[in-house]
């Protein structure tokens, strides 16, 4: 027993130094030297200022000139994340979904007159996993494009082209779903306006 205790104590100290300090600090050093952009949060600049991270969703509520992010259970908090944990048989979830769908129709239908409730994309009403999902579905972006084009006095074709530019396809053509990055798309729209 004493032998095991002695070896264990040395092993824990050694592992803490090697696996707990040398490994992560070494990796931090390499990352900061070689791939510092992504290692520091993939920050996005606009007009010389940091305005966010390409990977972290933001709130654009009540600003019709921008594409809207998915509903967030945490108000897009990136420093205290949490799931909604709404269960499949939750009456609260039903009420929230109904309210979200109604709000979506109210916002988009004036610009897309044929839009009906059955066409509301799921991702536009369900809250996300992370609370900071940076993307929306292509279906959602296609509907919102009508509003953004009208408010910004741009042609729908031009807005659709920008949406396409900011769409990430499936990884290796197989994994995940195609999705549109809301922040970089909105920045591109702002740059379009000042061009």
């Amino acid at each position: 027993m004493r032998t095991e205790l002695r070896i264990s104590l040395i092993a824990i100290v050694l592992c803490t130094l090697v696996l707990g300090l040398a490994y992560p600090l070494g990796l931090t050093g390499i990352s900061q030297a070689v791939i510092s952009g992504p290692a520091n949060g993939s920050l996005v600049h606009h007009n010389g200022h940091v305005v966010g991270s390409e990977l972290i969703g933001q709130d654009f509520k009540n600003l019709p000139r921008y594409f809207q992010s998915r509903p967030s259970q945490t108000d897009y908090s990136a420093n205290a994340t949490a799931f909604s944990n709404a269960g499949p048989n939750s009456a609260d979830l039903r009420d929230r979904l109904e309210a979200s769908a109604a709000a979506y129709l109210k916002r988009e239908r004036p610009f897309d007159l044929t839009l009906t409730k059955t066409q509301v994309p799921g991702d536009a009403v369900f809250t996300t996993a992370s609370g900071v999902d940076p993307q929306i579905s292509v279906a959602d972006a296609d509907i919102q494009a009508h509003r953004v084009a009208a408010v910004r006095h741009l042609s729908l074709a031009r807005v659709d082209a920008l949406v396409h530019e900011h769409t990430d396809g499936r990884a290796l053509g197989i994994f995940g779903d195609p999705a549109v990055n809301v922040l970089t798309l909105n920045i591109a729209l702002d740059q379009e306006a000042t061009r």
Binding site: T81, F83, G122
Partner: protein, 577 residues
């Protein structure tokens, strides 16, 4: 359901099957002491490590000595992690200035990370410092994984050894697993993660004005270095509260695919390691096939259930699949495949909210865990758990045909079967006892967040997950929230749930380890009788089917009554609560 969703599952299975003999063969060479391609570089480091530890690499251990080493090493690991959690306020790398983690949460967390469970009653980014993440939690991501692999390899030797009654040296297996396998793989995968956007930084959080004029703060940290071992070691404890859903942990569908493969890589590979070490690759593939069949069945049910949508969604008239708690880049396909992979393996990392799965969909992760985490399972623990079921299947078949059961030429006697039953039933009993205690007493109630049967499901899931060392959660089950606790804004479990969970995790880890090492010790050195015409073959599809039937029989008989009260009620009813 879409074509691409099903295609994703098929491609995943093909790639996993192709990688299994590669990584499995590497581990077989590594743990039988042959040279591997890393030997020229790592060999001197390995020998130096033995010198520092004072270990004689040639000295083999019998099962009792092996088990004693495992337990003492884990106990010292527990003490060191508990100390770090309690003292983090006075330790370096603490840019947010977090104070000590409360004693009950520290107890639960230390139990959780030492047992490879990584159940989290705390929110990472609002509770623990960078030092705790790196030098505390991440270290035990490595160590608990290496311990699982070591025990598994020792058990395989028990089946393979024909002349000697020892199982190898725990210290050698531990060091080899860390130096030749887990650390090199983690470095590679971590670098890949950083290129994709997983953060790796020691800067304090970053606050800025958003495009729309609001404020947002980012928490950075040494994430990639922890993320790689979190997944490869089937640990699953996230740096951030939302785990692999957080874009800084899992930014793209590509990193997600790598994570899903990483989860099952070593557990699947160990079946091939087993085949090689016992001298028949077919024996390994038979076990792999049984695991794969159960995994694919679970994925299919889960994917179909999520594509069908939830009762709440149908009541609200929302068409399409259930996207509540799922991020866009993963969609239904990558969210459900991840949920299945993380629960067949005892990983417990999540990229979607488990509690928001549909009723039937949520039953799949629970059922995956209730098999005892033997469908691939945790690194090491999956295969040694599965080998107990193999012995049980052989025993049942022996009863049916009236022959003395034997496996790989070794007669299975009463002692092994008794130990096997103890090893397979200890965890289910622990899970049911803890769930019942939590549900029936007033102390368990404050942990429940959801009304109706979902509240029961939360509790059942919590103790199933902790007892089987998975670590995923119906995360409403967090106990009460202490929003303004000093230095913290996370949610903390109440003391009762913390302590009961610790008991479930520690019991769920070490009772099966002791039982399976005892079985291996009793089989090691046993004479091998040549196979005759009456010997039941254990490398055929028939045996794989028998193995699956045995696992389902045990799991169903144990857990159906409990499942009826939660997920089954919810699936059959459209009533909302």
């Amino acid at each position: 359901m879409t074509f691409s969703g099903w295609a994703e599952i098929v491609v995943f299975v093909v790639v996993l099957t192709a990688l299994t003999p590669l990584i499995g063969g590497y581990m077989a060479r590594l743990f039988t002491g042959e040279r591997v391609f890393l030997s020229p570089i790592v060999g001197p480091i390995e020998r130096g490590t033995y010198r520092v530890l004072g270990v004689d690499a040639e000295q083999e251990q019998d099962w009792k000595a092996y088990a004693r080493s495992v337990i003492v090493f884990s106990a010292i690991g527990f003490a060191s992690l508990y100390a770090i959690l309690r003292l983090q306020g006075s330790l370096p790398f603490n840019p947010q200035g977090f104070g000590a983690v409360p004693a009950d949460v520290s107890l639960n967390t230390a139990s959780s990370f030492v047992t490879n469970t990584n159940w989290q009653f705390y929110a990472g980014e609002t509770t623990v410092s960078n030092f705790t993440q790196m030098a505390g939690l991440a270290v035990h991501n490595f160590l608990s994984a290496a311990v699982g692999i070591a025990v598994c390899v020792a058990v395989i030797r028990g089946f393979a050894n024909r002349s000697i009654a020892t199982l190898g040296s725990f210290w050698v297996d531990l060091v080899r697993g860390l130096l030749y396998l887990l650390l090199p793989l983690s470095i590679l995968v971590a670098l890949f993660y950083v290129t994709q956007g997983v953060v790796q930084s020691l800067s304090p959080s970053d606050t800025f004005t958003t495009l729309a004029g609001g404020k947002q703060s980012l928490v950075l940290g040494p994430v990639a270095s922890q993320e790689s071992i979190k997944i490869l070691g089937t640990n699953g404890g996230g740096f951030y509260n939302v785990n692999s859903a957080m874009p800084f942990e899992n930014p793209t569908a590509l990193t997600n695919a790598v994570q899903m493969l990483s989860i099952l890589l070593i557990p699947a590979g160990l079946t091939a390691t087993f085949g090689r070490m016992v001298g028949s690759r077919r024996q390994g593939w038979t076990i792999y096939a049984a695991m794969l069949a159960m995994f694919v069945a679970g994925v299919a049910v889960l994917y179909a259930a999520e594509a069908n949508g939830s009762a709440a969604q149908h009541a609200a008239g929302i068409l399409g699949g259930n996207l509540e708690g799922k991020d866009t880049r993963f969609g239904l396909g990558s969210s459900t495949l991840f949920a299945a992979a993380t629960t067949v393996a005892s990983c417990g990392a999540v990229n979607a909210a488990m509690e928001s799965l549909t009723a039937l969909g949520g039953a799949v992760p629970m059922a995956n865990m209730m098999t005892g985490e033997v469908i691939f399972g945790g690194v090491g623990s999956g295969l040694y758990g599965m080998l107990l079921f193999v012995l049980l299947a052989v025993f049942l078949a022996g009863l049916m045909v009236g022959r003395t059961p034997e496996y790989l030429g070794k007669k299975i006697r009463a002692r092994e079967i008794k130990l096997t039953m103890a090893g397979t039933l200890a965890v289910p009993l622990l899970v049911l006892f803890a769930t019942a205690l939590s549900i029936a007493t007033k102390w368990g109630k404050p942990s429940i967040a959801a009304p109706g049967p979902q509240g029961f499901s939360e509790t059942l899931y919590a103790y199933t997950s902790q007892g089987n060392n998975n670590g995923s959660a119906f995360a409403g089950f967090t106990g009460f929230v202490q929003p303004n606790a000093p230095g913290n804004t996370g949610s903390f479990g109440i003391t009762f749930a913390d302590i009961l969970g610790s008991v479930a995790m520690v019991g769920g880890r070490f009772l099966p380890i002791i039982a399976v090492l005892a079985v291996a010790g009793s089989l090691a050195g046993r004479r091998v009788t040549p196979a005759g015409p009456g010997t039941m073959r254990t490398d055929t599809p028939t045996f794989a089917a028998l193995l699956i039937a045995t696992i389902l029989l045990v799991a169903l008989l144990t857990f159906v009554p409990a499942l009826l009260l939660g997920p089954v009620v919810q699936s059959l009813s459209t009533t909302l609560f």
